[in-house]
Amino acid sequence: MSLEVKDLLVIRGAFSLEADFSLQSGRVLVLLGPSGCGKTTLLRAIAGLEPIQHGTITLDGARIDGLPTEKRNIGFVFQDLALFEQMRVEDNIGYGLSVRHENKKHIHEKVLFLARRFRIEHLLKRYPPELSGGERQRVAFARVIASEPSLMLLDEPLSALDAPLRREMRRFIRRQLAEGHLTAIHVTHDVEEAIDLADEIIVVRDGKMVGRGGIEDLEKNPGSGWLARFMNLGLVLPVTKISPADGLGPAFEVRTIAGTVSYASPEGGADVSALTQKACLYVPSGAVASAGAVGTAKIKAKVVRSIRNTLSVPKLVLMIPEEENYYFELPLKGDGPDIYQEGTDIELSINTRLCQLLPEDPPLCL
C-alpha cells in the first residue's frame, strides 16, 4: 500500500512539525533524526494518535486523516512495545483479530501460524513479563502483523536492546517486512540502523525534513554540514574565510580551521556567493586519502584511535587539533602504514574536486 503525506502540520505547544513525502508500496522508509526532532510525532500523526492542524494523509489513494485510529488499519510497534501485560502471549497476538470479532478457530490458527513463523510457539501460554527482550520484540511484531495492516509504523522498537540483539532484530525485521511485502516507516536515531533497514531515508531536525533519499544520495549531497556530521558521512570543517583565488576560473581559497583548500564549485555544491550564513567544507570519506598520498590539499589531524581488527572495517578516529570536541572516522583502505599510533599528528590529503562548500545548518524547508 502506498502512502502519501501532503502538507502536514502538527503543532504541540511551542513545537511544530511539517512533513510532505510519499512512500511507494512495499518500501521501507526510515525517519532518522536526533531525539526530540519530531519523528515519533510524525508517526503518531499518521496513526491518528496526534491531532493534525492541516494536511492530508492518503493510504493507497484513500484519505485516512479523518478516520479514528482504530479504522486506519495501521500497525504500530511502540518504543516500549506496549504489550498487554495482563494477557498471555497468544491473546496479545490475537487481540487485533478478536476486536474484529473474527471466529475463534480462525484466530487460533492465525496465532499459531505467526507463532511458528516468529519462532515463539513455545511462549504462547506465557505472560509478557516472563519474556526476554528479544522475545517481547517478536511478540509485539507478530501482534501487529496478525491484523494484516496496510502500513507498519515502527517507533524505535529496538532502542532498549543490547547491541548484539539489536543487530539480530534489525535483520529479523527487515526479513519479515520484505517477505510480507509490507510498506513500513521505521523511526530511529541510529545511523547504522537506518542504513541497515532503509530503502529510503528522511532526516528530520527540529520538526523539519532536512534530507531525503538513499544513503548514497545523502552521501553525495547532504545539503548541510549538520546532516553530514550527524550521519558521519565524512569530514566537516568549519570555514573561517572564503576569498577569490588568484588565476583563472571560478576558484576560491577556502580557509578552514585545519588548513586552506583551493576550491572550485562543483556540481551539487552550494553556490559560494549564496552562502550568506555560516559555511563549512564537506569532505566525503571517499575524498580523503591517508598521509603520503598525492592530493591537492592537506589537512592536519591527530589520531585518537586506530581500529584494526577482523570484526570491523579498519578505521581511524581522528580529531582536528583546533577543534577538540569534533571527532570523525576515516575508513582505512587496506592495512595502512603503522604510523597511525594513537596521538600521532598526521596530514590528510584530500581530493578537493569531491569536496562541497555547504551551509552549516540545513535549509528551513526541503
Partner: protein, 559 residues
C-alpha cells in the same frame, strides 16, 4: 570481628525495640481481655451458669449482633460505592487535565485527616439540615417546603456524610496512579482496531484497578470503624459494631459483650486489611512499573464543561458545608428574636462567658495531643528503624513478620478497646494518661509507615558512596539516611498531632470529666444545640489541625 559486634548490637537493638513496641501495643488489649474475662467469671458465678466461654456465647444477643453487623457492612459498602462514584471522575480530571482548582481538588484529600469527623458532622447538619443553608437557599428558589424533614438522620444521610467525607481519598489515591499510567497500551489497542472503551478496558483499567481497590479498601475500613457519624446520624436506623462496643462499655458496663463485638469487628477488619495489603502491594508495583507522571493536557469543549459541572457539584455539596462552619461561627443569634448579626460574639462567649471553656480546651488539646504525638513518634521511629534494619540484614525475618501486622493493629481493633485497656492499666483513675497512651497507640503506625517508606526511598548507592569515601556504617547512617528522613519524621509528627488533636472517639469513650479537649467541647456544644458556638470552637480546631497539616504538606514535605 568488628562486623560481628555491630551485628550483635543491631540484633540486640531490634529485640529491645520489638519488646517495647509489643508491650506498648498489646498491653491495653491484654488488660482489657483480663478485665472482660474476669467480668464474665463474676457473671457466671452469680447466675450459677457454666463458667466457660460457651456460656457467654449463649448470652450473646445474636439478633443484635447480626443486625449490627449487617448494618455496619451495608453502610460501609454503600458509602464506599458512593465515595468512589464521586471520586472517580475527580481522579480522571486531575490525572489528565490542567485546570483552575485542580490542586485545590487534590488538596481536599487533607480534609478527612485534618478536619475531625465531629466538625464535618456539624458542617453537614448546618448545611443539609432542616434549617440548613442549602435548604434555605433552595427555599428561595422553590418556595418553602413544609413537609421537608431533612434526610440527614436516615441511612442515606449517614451514607452521604461518609461518602463526602471520604471521596477526596479516592480522588487523591486513584489520581496518583492514573497520572503515571502511560497511554501507550491504550493506543496500541486502538491501532489494533479496538474502540475507545475497549482500548481503555485493555490498556488502562487493569493498571488502574489496584488503585481503585486500594482507595475502596481504605474508605471501607474507615466507614466500617465509623463511630461519631453513626452515633449522631444513625441512631434511628441502626448502629455499627463500633457504636455497640461503646454502648456496651459506657452504658451497660458489659465488658464481655463489648469483647464479643470487638472480636467480630476485628475478625472482619483483619480480613479487609489482609485484602488491602495485597492490593496495596499490586498498586505499588504499578507505580514502580511506570516512570514519571504524564503531561497534563488543556481541556477542550465538552471536557471543560464537565470540569465546570464537577467543580460546581463539589463546591455546592462538599465545600458548601465547610463554608457554612465559617459563616455560622460568626453569626451571632439574637436572644429576643431580633435580627441575626455577624461578629465575634460566639468566640467571646467561649473565651469570657460562663466557664470560658475555649482557652482550657485549646490548652488541653495541645497538651494531650502534643504528648501523644511525641510518644507516637518515638514508638513509630523505633519500629520503622527496627523493621528497616531487620529487612536490610535479611537474616532476621521474625521482626518484619511481627512489626508488619502490628502496624495495622489500630485499623483492626476498636479504639474503645484501646482506650478502656489503658484506663484499666491506669487503675481507672488517670484518664488523661489513658487518653495520651491510647491516642499514641492509634497514631504510631502512621509515623512508622511514613518513616519506613522514606527509609526505603533512599537510594542505597548514596550510602555505599559514603562508605567508599571512608564513612563508617554508623557515620554513613547518621549523615546520609538519618538526614534524609528527618523531614519525613517531622511530617509524621505533624500528622500524628493532626489526627490526635481531632480525635473525639477516645476522649468520648473514656467519658472524661476532668479535662475537655477541643473535639470534646465541640461535641458537647453540638449536643446542646449551641451550633454557633460549636462552629466557633470547630473553626479554632479546624484552624489548628489545618495549619499543622498545611505546614506538613507545604513546608516539611517539600523540604
Amino acid at each position: 570481628m568488628g562486623r560481628e559486634i555491630t551485628s550483635r548490637r543491631l540484633s540486640l537493638f531490634l529485640y529491645i525495640a520489638l519488646c517495647g513496641i509489643l508491650v506498648f501495643s498489646m498491653s491495653p488489649l491484654v488488660a482489657f481481655l483480663k478485665i472482660a474475662l474476669g467480668h464474665l467469671g463474676e457473671i457466671n458465678k452469680s447466675s450459677a451458669a457454666v463458667g466457660t466461654f460457651s456460656s457467654l456465647l449463649r448470652r450473646i444477643p445474636v439478633s443484635t449482633i447480626l443486625r449490627s453487623l449487617t448494618f455496619t457492612l451495608l453502610q460501609s459498602f454503600v458509602s464506599t460505592l458512593l465515595a468512589l462514584s464521586i471520586g472517580l471522575p475527580g481522579a480522571w480530571l486531575t490525572a489528565r487535565f490542567r485546570f483552575v482548582g485542580r490542586k485545590a481538588l487534590l488538596a481536599l484529600a487533607a480534609v478527612p485527616f485534618c478536619f475531625p469527623p465531629i466538625l464535618v458532622i456539624l458542617a453537614f447538619i448546618l448545611y443539609y439540615g432542616k434549617e440548613g443553608l442549602l435548604s434555605s437557599a433552595l427555599a428561595l428558589f422553590f418556595g418553602p417546603r413544609k413537609q421537608y424533614q431533612g434526610f440527614l438522620y436516615s441511612f442515606w444521610g449517614l451514607v452521604m456524610v461518609h461518602a463526602f467525607y471520604n471521596f477526596p481519598i479516592a480522588v487523591h489515591q486513584i489520581a496518583a496512579l492514573w497520572i503515571r499510567i502511560p497511554d501507550t497500551q491504550m493506543e496500541a489497542a486502538r491501532t489494533l482496531g479496538a474502540s475507545k472503551l475497549r482500548a481503555f478496558r485493555t490498556g488502562t483499567l487493569p493498571w488502574l484497578l489496584p488503585g481503585i481497590a486500594q482507595a475502596a479498601g481504605l474508605i471501607f475500613l474507615y466507614c466500617f470503624f465509623s463511630f461519631t457519624t453513626v452515633l449522631v446520624f444513625g441512631g434511628r436506623i441502626g448502629t455499627t459494631l463500633e457504636v455497640e462496643i461503646y454502648q456496651a462499655l459506657r452504658y451497660r458496663s458489659d465488658y464481655a459483650l463489648a469483647l464479643v463485638f470487638a472480636v467480630i469487628e476485628t475478625s472482619f477488619a483483619l480480613f479487609g486489611i489482609l485484602a488491602l495489603t495485597r492490593i496495596q502491594g499490586r498498586a505499588r508495583k504499578s507505580l514502580r512499573d511506570f516512570g514519571r507522571s504524564r503531561e497534563l493536557a488543556a481541556p477542550k469543549g465538552l471536557q471543560s464543561l464537565f470540569i465546570a459541572v464537577y467543580g460546581i457539584f463539589i463546591a455546592v455539596f462538599f465545600i458548601g458545608p465547610l463554608v457554612s462552619i465559617v459563616i455560622e461561627a460568626f453569626k451571632v443569634p439574637s436572644s429576643m428574636g431580633g435580627t441575626t448579626q455577624f461578629g465575634l460574639g460566639n468566640f467571646e462567649r467561649l473565651i469570657r462567658g460562663f466557664q470560658a471553656p475555649l482557652p482550657g480546651a485549646i490548652l488541653s488539646t495541645f497538651k494531650f495531643s502534643g504528648a501523644a504525638a511525641v510518644l507516637a513518634t518515638v514508638a513509630g521511629l523505633v519500629a520503622s528503624l527496627a523493621l528497616f534494619f531487620a529487612e536490610k540484614s535479611n537474616r532476621n525475618r521474625f521482626v518484619p513478620r511481627l512489626i508488619g501486622p502490628l502496624q495495622w493493629l489500630p485499623m483492626a481493633v476498636s479504639s474503645a478497646i484501646f482506650a478502656y485497656g489503658w484506663l484499666f492499666l491506669s487503675s481507672n483513675r488517670v484518664a488523661s494518661t489513658a487518653l495520651v497512651a491510647a491516642q499514641a497507640v492509634i497514631a504510631w503506625p502512621f509515623v512508622s509507615r511514613a518513616v519506613h517508606a522514606s527509609l526505603h526511598a533512599i537510594d542505597p548507592r548514596t550510602r555505599e558512596a559514603a562508605k567508599t569515601l571512608g564513612a563508617s556504617p554508623l557515620r554513613a547512617f547518621l549523615t546520609v539516611e538519618l538526614r534524609t528522613i528527618l523531614p519525613s519524621v517531622a511530617s509524621a509528627v505533624a500528622f500524628a498531632f493532626s489526627i490526635t488533636a481531632g480525635d473525639v472517639n477516645v476522649p468520648l469513650m473514656l467519658g472524661m470529666g476532668e479535662v475537655e479537649t477541643l473535639p470534646l467541647l465541640l461535641y458537647r456544644l453540638t449536643s446542646a444545640y449551641r451550633f454557633n458556638e460549636a462552629c466557633a470552637a470547630g473553626l479554632v480546631l479546624g484552624l489548628i489541625t489545618g495549619v499543622v497539616f498545611l505546614l506538613k504538606e507545604k513546608v516539611i514535605d517539600v523540604a
